[in-house]
Protein backbone atom coordinates (compact mmCIF):
# COMPACT_ATOMS: atom_id res chain seq x y z
CA UNK A 1 0.00 0.00 0.00
CA UNK A 2 2.70 2.31 1.05
CA UNK A 3 4.65 1.60 -2.09
CA UNK A 4 1.64 2.08 -4.29
CA UNK A 5 0.89 5.39 -2.65
CA UNK A 6 4.42 6.46 -3.39
CA UNK A 7 4.24 5.34 -6.97
CA UNK A 8 0.94 7.08 -7.50
CA UNK A 9 2.27 10.34 -6.20
CA UNK A 10 5.44 9.80 -8.14
CA UNK A 11 3.51 9.29 -11.30
CA UNK A 12 1.42 12.33 -10.55
CA UNK A 13 4.58 14.35 -10.24
CA UNK A 14 6.01 12.76 -13.34
CA UNK A 15 2.81 13.34 -15.25
CA UNK A 16 2.87 16.97 -14.25
CA UNK A 17 6.44 17.28 -15.36
CA UNK A 18 5.92 15.47 -18.62
CA UNK A 19 2.63 16.92 -19.62
CA UNK A 20 3.61 20.45 -18.88
CA UNK A 21 3.72 21.14 -22.55
CA UNK A 22 2.24 24.60 -22.89
CA UNK A 23 -1.21 24.01 -21.45
CA UNK A 24 -2.23 27.44 -22.52
CA UNK A 25 -4.86 26.77 -25.07
CA UNK A 26 -6.29 30.19 -24.28
CA UNK A 27 -6.15 32.15 -27.52
CA UNK A 28 -8.54 34.66 -28.94
CA UNK A 29 -8.52 36.05 -32.45
CA UNK A 30 -8.11 39.82 -32.71
CA UNK A 31 -10.17 40.97 -35.68
CA UNK A 32 -9.53 43.98 -37.92
CA UNK A 33 -11.86 46.27 -36.00
CA UNK A 34 -11.74 48.54 -33.01
CA UNK A 35 -10.51 46.38 -30.17
CA UNK A 36 -10.66 46.89 -26.43
CA UNK A 37 -7.19 46.21 -25.07
CA UNK A 38 -5.85 45.55 -21.58
CA UNK A 39 -9.22 45.55 -19.87
CA UNK A 40 -10.23 48.78 -21.49
CA UNK A 41 -7.04 50.74 -20.77
CA UNK A 42 -6.55 51.21 -24.53
CA UNK A 43 -8.44 50.90 -27.79
CA UNK A 44 -6.88 50.26 -31.19
CA UNK A 45 -7.74 48.99 -34.65
CA UNK A 46 -5.10 46.64 -36.07
CA UNK A 47 -4.58 46.44 -39.83
CA UNK A 48 -4.51 42.64 -39.79
CA UNK A 49 -5.50 39.80 -37.52
CA UNK A 50 -3.54 38.91 -34.40
CA UNK A 51 -3.86 36.36 -31.62
CA UNK A 52 -4.36 37.34 -28.01
CA UNK A 53 -2.90 35.16 -25.29
CA UNK A 54 -5.02 34.37 -22.24
CA UNK A 55 -2.17 35.06 -19.86
CA UNK A 56 -1.76 38.73 -18.96
CA UNK A 57 1.71 40.26 -18.49
CA UNK A 58 0.24 42.74 -16.01
CA UNK A 59 -3.07 43.52 -14.32
CA UNK A 60 -4.01 45.87 -17.16
CA UNK A 61 -1.91 44.34 -19.87
CA UNK A 62 -2.19 41.91 -22.72
CA UNK A 63 -0.06 40.04 -25.20
CA UNK A 64 -0.55 39.49 -28.93
CA UNK A 65 1.35 37.49 -31.49
CA UNK A 66 1.01 36.69 -35.17
CA UNK A 67 3.19 33.61 -35.53
CA UNK A 68 4.26 32.63 -32.01
CA UNK A 69 6.37 34.42 -29.42
CA UNK A 70 9.60 33.15 -30.99
CA UNK A 71 8.77 35.21 -34.06
CA UNK A 72 6.78 38.25 -32.97
CA UNK A 73 5.22 39.56 -29.81
CA UNK A 74 3.28 42.70 -29.01
CA UNK A 75 2.67 43.65 -25.38
CA UNK A 76 0.34 46.35 -24.11
CA UNK A 77 0.45 47.83 -20.62
CA UNK A 78 -2.01 50.47 -19.54
CA UNK A 79 -2.86 52.64 -16.57
CA UNK A 80 0.27 51.91 -14.57
CA UNK A 81 -0.02 54.06 -11.47
CA UNK A 82 2.73 55.72 -9.45
CA UNK A 83 4.47 52.98 -7.43
CA UNK A 84 3.60 50.10 -9.78
CA UNK A 85 5.92 48.04 -11.97
CA UNK A 86 5.31 47.59 -15.71
CA UNK A 87 5.19 43.77 -15.63
CA UNK A 88 3.42 41.89 -12.90
CA UNK A 89 5.91 41.41 -10.08
CA UNK A 90 6.10 37.65 -9.57
CA UNK A 91 8.64 37.50 -6.78
CA UNK A 92 9.30 40.46 -4.51
CA UNK A 93 12.15 38.64 -2.81
CA UNK A 94 13.97 37.17 -5.80
CA UNK A 95 13.09 39.37 -8.75
CA UNK A 96 11.79 42.72 -7.54
CA UNK A 97 10.90 45.08 -10.38
CA UNK A 98 11.56 48.81 -10.36
CA UNK A 99 8.45 50.96 -10.06
CA UNK A 100 7.02 53.80 -12.11
CA UNK A 101 7.10 57.31 -10.58
CA UNK A 102 4.97 60.02 -12.07
CA UNK A 103 7.83 62.55 -11.94
CA UNK A 104 10.08 60.45 -14.19
CA UNK A 105 11.86 62.04 -17.15
CA UNK A 106 11.47 60.44 -20.58
CA UNK A 107 14.96 58.92 -20.18
CA UNK A 108 13.91 57.47 -16.83
CA UNK A 109 10.93 55.79 -18.49
CA UNK A 110 13.30 54.15 -20.95
CA UNK A 111 15.51 52.88 -18.13
CA UNK A 112 12.46 51.71 -16.22
CA UNK A 113 11.33 49.72 -19.21
CA UNK A 114 14.78 48.27 -19.83
CA UNK A 115 15.02 46.96 -16.27
CA UNK A 116 11.45 45.60 -16.20
CA UNK A 117 11.84 43.83 -19.54
CA UNK A 118 15.26 42.38 -18.75
CA UNK A 119 14.33 41.11 -15.31
CA UNK A 120 11.02 39.65 -16.55
CA UNK A 121 12.66 37.76 -19.41
CA UNK A 122 16.03 36.99 -17.77
CA UNK A 123 17.93 38.92 -20.39
CA UNK A 124 21.46 40.04 -19.61
CA UNK A 125 22.40 41.47 -22.96
CA UNK A 126 20.33 44.54 -23.77
CA UNK A 127 21.58 47.45 -25.87
CA UNK A 128 19.74 50.62 -26.80
CA UNK A 129 19.98 51.43 -30.50
CA UNK A 130 18.07 54.67 -30.36
CA UNK A 131 16.00 56.75 -28.00
CA UNK A 132 13.94 59.61 -29.35
CA UNK A 133 10.80 61.63 -28.74
CA UNK A 134 7.63 60.06 -30.09
CA UNK A 135 3.94 59.99 -29.42
CA UNK A 136 1.93 57.12 -28.09
CA UNK A 137 -1.67 57.57 -29.10
CA UNK A 138 -1.16 61.32 -29.49
CA UNK A 139 0.52 61.71 -26.09
CA UNK A 140 4.15 62.87 -26.01
CA UNK A 141 6.55 60.18 -24.90
CA UNK A 142 9.54 58.15 -26.02
CA UNK A 143 10.39 55.58 -28.61
CA UNK A 144 13.21 53.17 -27.81
CA UNK A 145 14.68 50.68 -30.27
CA UNK A 146 16.89 48.05 -28.67
CA UNK A 147 18.49 44.72 -29.37
CA UNK A 148 18.88 41.79 -27.06
CA UNK A 149 19.86 38.14 -27.19
CA UNK A 150 19.01 34.97 -25.36
CA UNK A 151 21.84 32.91 -23.88
CA UNK A 152 23.57 30.68 -26.45
CA UNK A 153 21.41 31.92 -29.25
CA UNK A 154 22.90 33.24 -32.45
CA UNK A 155 19.75 35.15 -33.31
CA UNK A 156 19.69 38.95 -32.93
CA UNK A 157 16.33 40.00 -31.51
CA UNK A 158 15.09 43.55 -31.81
CA UNK A 159 12.50 45.44 -29.81
CA UNK A 160 10.69 48.72 -30.22
CA UNK A 161 8.84 50.23 -27.30
CA UNK A 162 6.84 53.40 -26.91
CA UNK A 163 6.08 54.82 -23.52
CA UNK A 164 4.00 57.82 -22.50
CA UNK A 165 2.46 59.23 -19.36
CA UNK A 166 -1.15 60.33 -19.53
CA UNK A 167 -2.99 61.74 -16.52
CA UNK A 168 -0.17 60.59 -14.26
CA UNK A 169 -0.37 56.98 -15.48
CA UNK A 170 2.12 55.13 -17.67
CA UNK A 171 1.21 53.41 -20.94
CA UNK A 172 3.54 51.10 -22.83
CA UNK A 173 3.39 49.21 -26.10
CA UNK A 174 6.34 46.94 -26.82
CA UNK A 175 7.07 44.90 -29.94
CA UNK A 176 9.82 42.26 -30.23
CA UNK A 177 10.92 39.97 -33.06
CA UNK A 178 14.05 38.42 -34.60
CA UNK A 179 15.87 40.98 -36.70
CA UNK A 180 16.01 38.60 -39.66
CA UNK A 181 12.78 39.12 -41.57
CA UNK A 182 10.26 39.12 -38.71
CA UNK A 183 10.90 42.53 -37.18
CA UNK A 184 10.45 44.39 -40.44
CA UNK A 185 7.55 42.21 -41.50
CA UNK A 186 5.17 43.67 -38.91
CA UNK A 187 6.81 46.87 -37.71
CA UNK A 188 4.81 49.22 -39.94
CA UNK A 189 1.54 47.84 -38.72
CA UNK A 190 2.77 47.97 -35.13
CA UNK A 191 3.86 51.61 -35.51
CA UNK A 192 0.42 52.47 -36.83
CA UNK A 193 -1.12 50.88 -33.74
CA UNK A 194 1.26 52.88 -31.52
CA UNK A 195 0.39 56.09 -33.36
CA UNK A 196 -3.34 55.61 -33.30
CA UNK A 197 -4.03 53.79 -30.05
CA UNK A 198 -6.52 55.52 -27.81
CA UNK A 199 -5.38 55.77 -24.20
CA UNK A 200 -8.12 55.65 -21.56
Amino acid sequence: MKLHGGIIIASTVAAMALLSVPANAGWKRIEVEETKIAKGAMYATPASEWNRWSRRPARRGETWTKDGFQLNRLDFFGQIADGESIYKERSKKEKPLPKFRSDMLPTDLAELFEANFSIEHNITQFDVRSLEPAQLGGVAGVRMVYEYALPNDALTRVGEARLAVSAGQLYVINYTAPELHYFDASVDEVRAIMDNVELK
Binding site: L105, L131, P133
Partner: protein, 392 residues
Protein backbone atom coordinates in the same frame (compact mmCIF):
# COMPACT_ATOMS: atom_id res chain seq x y z
CA UNK B 1 58.55 33.10 -11.59
CA UNK B 2 59.82 35.12 -8.66
CA UNK B 3 56.86 33.87 -6.72
CA UNK B 4 57.71 30.27 -7.38
CA UNK B 5 61.33 30.73 -6.42
CA UNK B 6 60.35 32.54 -3.25
CA UNK B 7 57.92 29.79 -2.42
CA UNK B 8 60.59 27.15 -2.94
CA UNK B 9 62.95 29.02 -0.67
CA UNK B 10 60.23 29.32 1.91
CA UNK B 11 59.52 25.62 1.80
CA UNK B 12 63.19 24.88 2.23
CA UNK B 13 63.32 27.23 5.19
CA UNK B 14 60.31 25.53 6.70
CA UNK B 15 61.96 22.14 6.35
CA UNK B 16 65.20 23.24 7.92
CA UNK B 17 63.77 25.30 10.74
CA UNK B 18 60.77 23.17 11.45
CA UNK B 19 62.65 20.09 12.60
CA UNK B 20 60.34 19.29 15.53
CA UNK B 21 57.37 19.16 13.20
CA UNK B 22 59.02 17.17 10.44
CA UNK B 23 55.97 15.09 9.65
CA UNK B 24 53.74 18.12 9.29
CA UNK B 25 56.27 19.83 7.03
CA UNK B 26 56.20 16.69 4.96
CA UNK B 27 52.44 16.93 4.79
CA UNK B 28 52.62 20.57 3.89
CA UNK B 29 54.93 19.77 1.05
CA UNK B 30 52.54 17.15 -0.27
CA UNK B 31 49.64 19.50 0.18
CA UNK B 32 51.21 22.32 -1.66
CA UNK B 33 53.15 20.78 -4.45
CA UNK B 34 51.01 20.52 -7.50
CA UNK B 35 50.78 17.14 -9.14
CA UNK B 36 52.62 17.19 -12.47
CA UNK B 37 50.41 18.26 -15.36
CA UNK B 38 49.74 15.34 -17.61
CA UNK B 39 48.39 17.37 -20.48
CA UNK B 40 44.80 18.05 -21.41
CA UNK B 41 43.13 14.71 -21.10
CA UNK B 42 41.07 12.97 -23.67
CA UNK B 43 37.72 11.57 -22.63
CA UNK B 44 38.25 8.02 -21.51
CA UNK B 45 34.91 6.34 -21.13
CA UNK B 46 31.34 6.46 -22.35
CA UNK B 47 30.19 9.15 -19.96
CA UNK B 48 33.12 11.42 -20.58
CA UNK B 49 32.85 11.16 -24.33
CA UNK B 50 29.17 11.99 -24.04
CA UNK B 51 29.92 15.11 -22.10
CA UNK B 52 32.65 16.23 -24.41
CA UNK B 53 30.36 15.84 -27.36
CA UNK B 54 27.65 17.89 -25.63
CA UNK B 55 30.07 20.60 -24.71
CA UNK B 56 31.66 20.66 -28.12
CA UNK B 57 28.18 21.31 -29.50
CA UNK B 58 27.56 24.00 -26.92
CA UNK B 59 30.91 25.59 -27.63
CA UNK B 60 30.07 25.71 -31.33
CA UNK B 61 26.92 27.62 -30.41
CA UNK B 62 28.82 29.78 -27.95
CA UNK B 63 31.17 30.82 -30.75
CA UNK B 64 28.27 32.48 -32.52
CA UNK B 65 26.40 33.60 -29.41
CA UNK B 66 25.50 37.24 -29.00
CA UNK B 67 26.10 36.68 -25.32
CA UNK B 68 29.88 36.49 -25.69
CA UNK B 69 31.95 39.63 -25.21
CA UNK B 70 34.38 39.80 -28.12
CA UNK B 71 37.11 42.14 -26.99
CA UNK B 72 40.62 41.00 -27.89
CA UNK B 73 42.36 43.10 -25.22
CA UNK B 74 40.12 41.92 -22.39
CA UNK B 75 40.29 38.36 -23.68
CA UNK B 76 44.07 38.38 -23.75
CA UNK B 77 44.21 39.79 -20.24
CA UNK B 78 41.92 37.17 -18.69
CA UNK B 79 43.84 34.43 -20.48
CA UNK B 80 47.05 35.84 -19.09
CA UNK B 81 45.67 35.84 -15.53
CA UNK B 82 44.62 32.22 -15.88
CA UNK B 83 48.14 31.32 -17.02
CA UNK B 84 49.65 33.16 -14.09
CA UNK B 85 47.23 31.39 -11.76
CA UNK B 86 47.61 27.78 -12.88
CA UNK B 87 50.87 27.88 -14.80
CA UNK B 88 51.70 28.03 -18.48
CA UNK B 89 51.65 24.27 -18.96
CA UNK B 90 48.10 23.96 -17.68
CA UNK B 91 46.39 27.11 -18.88
CA UNK B 92 46.52 26.28 -22.59
CA UNK B 93 44.02 23.48 -21.95
CA UNK B 94 41.30 26.08 -21.36
CA UNK B 95 39.41 28.15 -23.90
CA UNK B 96 37.92 31.21 -22.23
CA UNK B 97 34.64 32.85 -23.17
CA UNK B 98 33.73 36.12 -21.48
CA UNK B 99 29.96 36.16 -21.09
CA UNK B 100 27.87 39.27 -20.66
CA UNK B 101 26.05 38.36 -17.47
CA UNK B 102 26.01 40.45 -14.32
CA UNK B 103 26.06 37.57 -11.83
CA UNK B 104 29.07 36.61 -9.72
CA UNK B 105 30.07 33.48 -11.61
CA UNK B 106 32.52 31.49 -13.70
CA UNK B 107 32.44 27.87 -14.83
CA UNK B 108 34.48 25.28 -16.65
CA UNK B 109 33.27 22.38 -18.76
CA UNK B 110 35.01 19.02 -19.21
CA UNK B 111 36.14 19.78 -22.76
CA UNK B 112 38.07 22.84 -21.57
CA UNK B 113 35.45 25.52 -22.28
CA UNK B 114 35.63 28.16 -19.55
CA UNK B 115 32.97 30.80 -19.01
CA UNK B 116 33.80 34.02 -17.17
CA UNK B 117 30.91 36.35 -16.40
CA UNK B 118 31.38 40.10 -16.71
CA UNK B 119 29.72 40.27 -13.27
CA UNK B 120 32.75 38.46 -11.88
CA UNK B 121 35.23 40.80 -13.57
CA UNK B 122 33.29 43.77 -12.21
CA UNK B 123 33.40 42.51 -8.62
CA UNK B 124 37.07 41.54 -8.37
CA UNK B 125 39.32 44.12 -6.73
CA UNK B 126 42.59 42.80 -8.02
CA UNK B 127 44.20 40.22 -10.23
CA UNK B 128 44.79 37.82 -7.34
CA UNK B 129 41.07 37.55 -6.64
CA UNK B 130 40.30 36.86 -10.28
CA UNK B 131 43.13 34.32 -10.32
CA UNK B 132 41.66 32.55 -7.30
CA UNK B 133 38.27 32.10 -8.97
CA UNK B 134 39.75 31.00 -12.29
CA UNK B 135 42.01 28.59 -10.39
CA UNK B 136 39.01 27.15 -8.58
CA UNK B 137 37.22 26.49 -11.85
CA UNK B 138 40.34 25.01 -13.37
CA UNK B 139 40.53 22.74 -10.33
CA UNK B 140 37.16 21.24 -11.29
CA UNK B 141 38.51 20.61 -14.75
CA UNK B 142 41.73 19.02 -13.56
CA UNK B 143 39.84 16.79 -11.13
CA UNK B 144 37.24 15.91 -13.79
CA UNK B 145 34.44 16.96 -11.52
CA UNK B 146 31.80 17.72 -14.09
CA UNK B 147 31.46 14.08 -14.79
CA UNK B 148 31.33 13.05 -11.16
CA UNK B 149 29.02 15.97 -10.50
CA UNK B 150 26.64 14.81 -13.15
CA UNK B 151 26.54 11.25 -11.87
CA UNK B 152 25.89 12.52 -8.40
CA UNK B 153 23.28 14.89 -9.72
CA UNK B 154 21.44 12.17 -11.52
CA UNK B 155 21.38 10.03 -8.43
CA UNK B 156 20.34 13.00 -6.37
CA UNK B 157 17.49 13.91 -8.64
CA UNK B 158 16.13 10.36 -8.43
CA UNK B 159 16.53 10.36 -4.67
CA UNK B 160 15.11 13.83 -4.33
CA UNK B 161 12.10 12.89 -6.36
CA UNK B 162 11.21 10.04 -4.03
CA UNK B 163 12.23 11.88 -0.89
CA UNK B 164 10.20 14.89 -1.86
CA UNK B 165 7.19 12.72 -2.32
CA UNK B 166 7.57 11.10 1.06
CA UNK B 167 8.57 14.14 3.05
CA UNK B 168 6.50 16.80 1.37
CA UNK B 169 9.46 18.93 0.37
CA UNK B 170 8.73 21.80 -1.96
CA UNK B 171 8.74 20.12 -5.34
CA UNK B 172 10.04 23.13 -7.20
CA UNK B 173 13.46 22.25 -5.82
CA UNK B 174 13.64 19.26 -8.11
CA UNK B 175 13.60 21.32 -11.20
CA UNK B 176 15.80 24.12 -10.02
CA UNK B 177 18.80 21.89 -9.42
CA UNK B 178 20.98 22.40 -12.40
CA UNK B 179 22.96 19.68 -14.01
CA UNK B 180 26.34 21.27 -14.15
CA UNK B 181 26.67 22.20 -10.54
CA UNK B 182 29.12 20.10 -8.69
CA UNK B 183 28.66 18.26 -5.44
CA UNK B 184 29.76 19.74 -2.15
CA UNK B 185 32.78 17.48 -1.87
CA UNK B 186 33.92 18.47 -5.35
CA UNK B 187 33.54 22.14 -4.52
CA UNK B 188 35.68 21.69 -1.45
CA UNK B 189 38.27 19.78 -3.43
CA UNK B 190 38.37 22.41 -6.20
CA UNK B 191 38.73 25.11 -3.56
CA UNK B 192 41.74 23.35 -2.13
CA UNK B 193 43.30 22.60 -5.51
CA UNK B 194 42.71 26.26 -6.34
CA UNK B 195 44.49 27.22 -3.13
CA UNK B 196 47.47 25.15 -4.20
CA UNK B 197 47.64 26.85 -7.59
CA UNK B 198 47.57 30.16 -5.80
CA UNK B 199 50.27 29.12 -3.36
CA UNK B 200 52.74 28.49 -6.19
CA UNK B 201 51.52 31.44 -8.28
CA UNK B 202 52.74 35.03 -8.04
CA UNK B 203 49.52 35.81 -6.13
CA UNK B 204 48.88 35.55 -2.40
CA UNK B 205 46.63 32.68 -1.27
CA UNK B 206 44.70 35.00 1.01
CA UNK B 207 42.85 36.39 -2.00
CA UNK B 208 40.56 33.33 -2.23
CA UNK B 209 39.01 33.66 1.22
CA UNK B 210 38.53 37.38 0.68
CA UNK B 211 36.39 36.72 -2.39
CA UNK B 212 34.04 34.44 -0.48
CA UNK B 213 33.69 36.80 2.44
CA UNK B 214 32.64 39.56 0.06
CA UNK B 215 30.14 37.27 -1.63
CA UNK B 216 28.49 36.67 1.75
CA UNK B 217 28.41 40.33 2.62
CA UNK B 218 26.99 41.27 -0.75
CA UNK B 219 24.14 38.82 -0.42
CA UNK B 220 23.49 39.92 3.15
CA UNK B 221 23.06 43.45 1.88
CA UNK B 222 20.64 42.21 -0.76
CA UNK B 223 18.71 40.07 1.75
CA UNK B 224 18.28 42.99 4.11
CA UNK B 225 16.94 45.23 1.36
CA UNK B 226 14.53 42.59 0.09
CA UNK B 227 13.53 41.56 3.59
CA UNK B 228 14.38 37.94 3.07
CA UNK B 229 16.38 35.47 5.13
CA UNK B 230 20.14 35.68 4.85
CA UNK B 231 21.79 32.75 3.15
CA UNK B 232 25.28 31.40 2.86
CA UNK B 233 25.78 30.69 6.55
CA UNK B 234 25.07 26.99 6.81
CA UNK B 235 25.36 24.13 4.40
CA UNK B 236 22.03 22.41 4.01
CA UNK B 237 21.41 18.89 2.81
CA UNK B 238 20.37 19.77 -0.71
CA UNK B 239 22.95 22.47 -1.28
CA UNK B 240 25.45 21.57 -3.93
CA UNK B 241 28.05 24.01 -2.66
CA UNK B 242 29.56 24.42 0.78
CA UNK B 243 28.25 27.54 2.44
CA UNK B 244 30.50 30.50 1.53
CA UNK B 245 31.21 31.16 5.18
CA UNK B 246 32.57 27.63 5.55
CA UNK B 247 34.59 28.12 2.37
CA UNK B 248 36.08 31.37 3.53
CA UNK B 249 37.10 29.58 6.74
CA UNK B 250 38.98 26.67 5.25
CA UNK B 251 40.50 28.81 2.51
CA UNK B 252 41.83 31.21 5.11
CA UNK B 253 43.34 28.26 6.96
CA UNK B 254 44.91 27.00 3.74
CA UNK B 255 46.36 30.45 3.10
CA UNK B 256 47.73 30.58 6.61
CA UNK B 257 49.37 27.21 6.12
CA UNK B 258 50.84 28.29 2.80
CA UNK B 259 52.00 31.55 4.39
CA UNK B 260 53.00 32.66 0.94
CA UNK B 261 53.87 36.14 -0.10
CA UNK B 262 52.51 37.53 -3.27
CA UNK B 263 51.36 40.48 -5.22
CA UNK B 264 47.67 41.29 -5.55
CA UNK B 265 48.36 43.39 -8.63
CA UNK B 266 45.51 45.71 -7.78
CA UNK B 267 46.81 48.61 -9.85
CA UNK B 268 47.23 46.63 -13.01
CA UNK B 269 43.75 45.16 -12.54
CA UNK B 270 42.00 48.50 -12.14
CA UNK B 271 43.93 49.91 -15.06
CA UNK B 272 42.81 47.11 -17.36
CA UNK B 273 39.21 47.18 -16.12
CA UNK B 274 38.81 50.96 -16.22
CA UNK B 275 37.30 51.18 -19.74
CA UNK B 276 34.85 48.31 -19.11
CA UNK B 277 33.84 48.92 -15.53
CA UNK B 278 31.00 51.37 -16.09
CA UNK B 279 29.41 49.19 -18.77
CA UNK B 280 29.55 46.09 -16.57
CA UNK B 281 28.13 48.12 -13.70
CA UNK B 282 25.24 49.40 -15.84
CA UNK B 283 24.26 45.76 -16.47
CA UNK B 284 24.26 45.23 -12.71
CA UNK B 285 22.16 48.38 -12.11
CA UNK B 286 19.61 47.11 -14.60
CA UNK B 287 18.81 44.25 -12.17
CA UNK B 288 17.13 46.59 -9.64
CA UNK B 289 19.52 45.41 -6.95
CA UNK B 290 20.40 48.67 -5.18
CA UNK B 291 21.89 47.50 -1.89
CA UNK B 292 24.12 44.86 -3.47
CA UNK B 293 25.17 47.27 -6.22
CA UNK B 294 26.11 49.83 -3.58
CA UNK B 295 28.07 47.20 -1.70
CA UNK B 296 29.91 46.14 -4.85
CA UNK B 297 30.93 49.73 -5.56
CA UNK B 298 32.08 50.40 -2.01
CA UNK B 299 34.19 47.25 -1.99
CA UNK B 300 35.64 48.08 -5.36
CA UNK B 301 36.53 51.65 -4.50
CA UNK B 302 37.72 50.88 -0.98
CA UNK B 303 39.60 53.85 0.36
CA UNK B 304 40.74 55.07 -3.01
CA UNK B 305 37.79 56.49 -4.87
CA UNK B 306 38.73 57.28 -8.41
CA UNK B 307 36.66 59.44 -10.78
CA UNK B 308 35.10 56.35 -12.40
CA UNK B 309 33.77 55.28 -8.99
CA UNK B 310 32.07 58.64 -8.51
CA UNK B 311 30.39 58.27 -11.90
CA UNK B 312 29.23 54.80 -10.88
CA UNK B 313 27.85 56.15 -7.61
CA UNK B 314 26.02 58.84 -9.54
CA UNK B 315 24.40 56.24 -11.78
CA UNK B 316 23.50 54.07 -8.80
CA UNK B 317 21.61 56.84 -7.04
CA UNK B 318 20.17 58.56 -10.09
CA UNK B 319 18.57 55.33 -11.24
CA UNK B 320 16.84 54.79 -7.91
CA UNK B 321 15.81 58.41 -8.08
CA UNK B 322 14.37 59.36 -4.68
CA UNK B 323 14.85 63.08 -3.90
CA UNK B 324 17.76 62.26 -1.60
CA UNK B 325 19.28 59.96 -4.22
CA UNK B 326 19.19 62.79 -6.72
CA UNK B 327 21.19 65.00 -4.37
CA UNK B 328 23.78 62.28 -3.85
CA UNK B 329 23.88 61.62 -7.58
CA UNK B 330 24.47 65.27 -8.39
CA UNK B 331 27.29 65.51 -5.85
CA UNK B 332 28.88 62.31 -7.19
CA UNK B 333 28.87 63.42 -10.81
CA UNK B 334 30.27 66.83 -9.85
CA UNK B 335 33.03 65.20 -7.90
CA UNK B 336 33.89 62.95 -10.85
CA UNK B 337 34.02 65.98 -13.13
CA UNK B 338 36.10 68.02 -10.67
CA UNK B 339 38.55 65.17 -10.33
CA UNK B 340 39.01 65.05 -14.05
CA UNK B 341 36.84 62.19 -15.32
CA UNK B 342 36.82 61.80 -19.08
CA UNK B 343 33.62 59.77 -19.10
CA UNK B 344 30.87 61.72 -20.92
CA UNK B 345 28.32 59.76 -18.87
CA UNK B 346 29.17 62.05 -15.95
CA UNK B 347 27.65 65.07 -17.76
CA UNK B 348 24.68 63.07 -18.97
CA UNK B 349 23.98 61.80 -15.47
CA UNK B 350 24.47 65.22 -13.94
CA UNK B 351 22.08 66.80 -16.42
CA UNK B 352 19.41 64.19 -15.85
CA UNK B 353 19.73 64.30 -12.07
CA UNK B 354 19.41 68.08 -12.10
CA UNK B 355 16.43 68.03 -14.41
CA UNK B 356 14.62 65.46 -12.35
CA UNK B 357 15.27 67.58 -9.25
CA UNK B 358 13.63 70.49 -11.04
CA UNK B 359 16.71 72.52 -11.98
CA UNK B 360 16.01 72.36 -15.68
CA UNK B 361 18.35 75.12 -16.75
CA UNK B 362 21.52 73.72 -15.16
CA UNK B 363 20.41 70.29 -16.30
CA UNK B 364 20.14 71.46 -19.90
CA UNK B 365 23.62 72.94 -19.65
CA UNK B 366 25.17 69.66 -18.51
CA UNK B 367 23.29 67.72 -21.18
CA UNK B 368 24.55 70.14 -23.81
CA UNK B 369 28.11 69.41 -22.71
CA UNK B 370 27.37 65.69 -22.99
CA UNK B 371 25.95 66.11 -26.50
CA UNK B 372 29.05 68.03 -27.54
CA UNK B 373 31.22 65.19 -26.27
CA UNK B 374 29.12 62.41 -27.86
CA UNK B 375 27.25 63.92 -30.79
CA UNK B 376 26.11 60.56 -32.16
CA UNK B 377 24.92 58.87 -28.96
CA UNK B 378 21.87 56.60 -29.30
CA UNK B 379 19.83 58.98 -27.14
CA UNK B 380 20.87 62.22 -28.88
CA UNK B 381 17.42 62.98 -30.30
CA UNK B 382 15.73 62.54 -26.94
CA UNK B 383 18.23 64.62 -25.02
CA UNK B 384 18.19 67.43 -27.61
CA UNK B 385 14.46 67.69 -27.15
CA UNK B 386 14.79 67.77 -23.39
CA UNK B 387 17.36 70.57 -23.69
CA UNK B 388 15.10 72.56 -26.01
CA UNK B 389 12.16 72.02 -23.67
CA UNK B 390 14.13 73.39 -20.74
CA UNK B 391 15.22 76.49 -22.61
CA UNK B 392 11.70 77.58 -23.51
Amino acid sequence: MMGRAAFGAMLLAATVLGAPAASSAQEDRENFLLPPWTGAYEPENIDERGFWREWDELETRLKHSKYVVRDPALQAYVEDVLCEAVGNDRCTAARIYILRENSFNAWMAPNGTMGVHTGLLMRMRNEAELASVLGHEFGHFEKRHTLQGFKQQRRTSDIVMWAAILAGIDLTNIYTLTIFEYGREQEREADLVGARYLAVSPYPSRAAAEVWIRLIDEDDARAEERKRRKRNRHTRWLDSHPAPLERAGYLARAAEAAADEGDYRADRYSEVMEPYLLGFYEDQLQRNDFAASKFILEQLAGEYWRPIHWVMQGELHRKRGTPRDLVTAEESYRRAINEGTQRPEAWRGLGLALMRSGDRESGAEALTTYLEKVPDAPDTAMLEMMVRGAQK
